[in-house]
């Protein structure tokens, strides 16, 4: 009884904290100074149509580096908690003919779509994280269709490490080539033409590294969460 009262009190307190958001909320008529500056810089300095990518990769690039680190730590934690050999699970049924045929037809296309998303992250909606998740979804489809589908752990580990290293290296390259206070500045490569694939400096390269890293990491997570395979 007292517990339910406490729960209701906590919820009421939270609602009271959030009430000013709702009461004083006005839809703004135009962007604030910071956003206007980012939009201006994204168009004129970086030559990048997607302003969100400009903010994520360049202006708040250090945040993204930290985000990748958090993702890496979570993956390491999942792998540490769920060692494959220790777990004993039930046997799984094999996928049906339809599922297997459909999966082997769709999986390469999904991987290609993921690669398209992360290489075009500076032009269209999407980017490294989204593309990586799409690639991992192809791996999930293959896991569901084939009971004995096995990831190449060496490939995944190397892909993840190398792309993470390349991401940090590209950031440091900006620092070396453009001088101090330009860590993760992509402008050491040519800005290129508007709306071309090879434009916006090093951003396509950086986002490709992020995409490969996220795809490899999430595939590792899927592999850990899957439990032991083996046909029924």
């Amino acid at each position: 009884m007292i517990k339910q009262l406490l729960v209701v009190l906590a919820l009421a307190g939270l609602a009271w904290l959030l009430w000013p958001f709702l009461a004083e909320f006005r839809v703004s008529e135009s962007n604030n100074a910071l956003a206007t500056e980012y939009i201006h810089g994204s168009i004129n300095e970086l030559n990048m149509p997607n302003v969100v990518t400009a903010v994520v990769v360049t202006y708040r690039g250090l945040d993204t580096l930290g985000e990748v680190t958090v993702l890496f730590l979570a993956t390491a934690g999942v792998g540490f908690l769920l060692k494959r050999r220790e777990l004993k699970g039930g046997k799984r049924r094999a996928g049906t003919e339809i599922l297997r045929t459909g999966a082997s037809f769709l999986a390469p296309l999904i991987v290609m779509f993921g690669v398209y998303i992360f290489t075009h992250g500076h032009l269209s909606p999407g980017g490294g994280f989204q593309g990586g998740v799409v690639i991992a979804s192809a791996m999930l489809l293959l896991c569901l269709a084939y009971v004995d589908f096995d990831f190449s752990h060496r490939l995944l580990t190397w892909l993840e490490s190398l792309s993470g290293l390349a991401y940090a290296g590209l950031g440091l390259l900006g620092l070396v080539l453009l001088g101090a206070s330009s860590f993760l500045d992509p402008r050491f490569m040519p800005a290129g033409n508007w709306l071309r694939l090879f434009s916006a400096g090093a951003v396509p390269l950086i986002y490709s590294c992020v995409g490969l890293k996220v795809g490899a990491e999430l595939s590792t997570v899927l592999d850990s969460l899957r439990g032991p395979g083996g046909a029924a």
Partner: protein, 123 residues
Amino acid sequence: MIVLLCGILLMLAGIWTMLVKKNLIRMIIGFSILDTGIHMLIVAIGYVKNGTAPIIDAGVRLAKTAEGAKVVAEKIVDPVPSALVLTAIVIGLAVTALMLAYAIRLYKTRGSLNIDDFEEQKW
């Protein structure tokens, strides 16, 4: 406004789920609901009236000058909350995966997902 209200309601629902439910999986689902509510809240704050996605195509590319940039800034939503939510979604995914891994581990070692069966840390 509706998005903001939905976000706040989702946050309250998520907190309620985490406080009341006994099953670990349901608590993790509550955390995900709370996460989604926070994302909706942040996105709603960044909305600009009649704005579209902050991706500038050839049609709105007149922002070479300061006045042009002001025109563009009135047509697209604030990019900073969108970028923050992009970060938050990925972090939420990582944290959810880690919590599910802990839940699986607890179930494998203790054979239960009920929070009442784990009393060592109770005070």
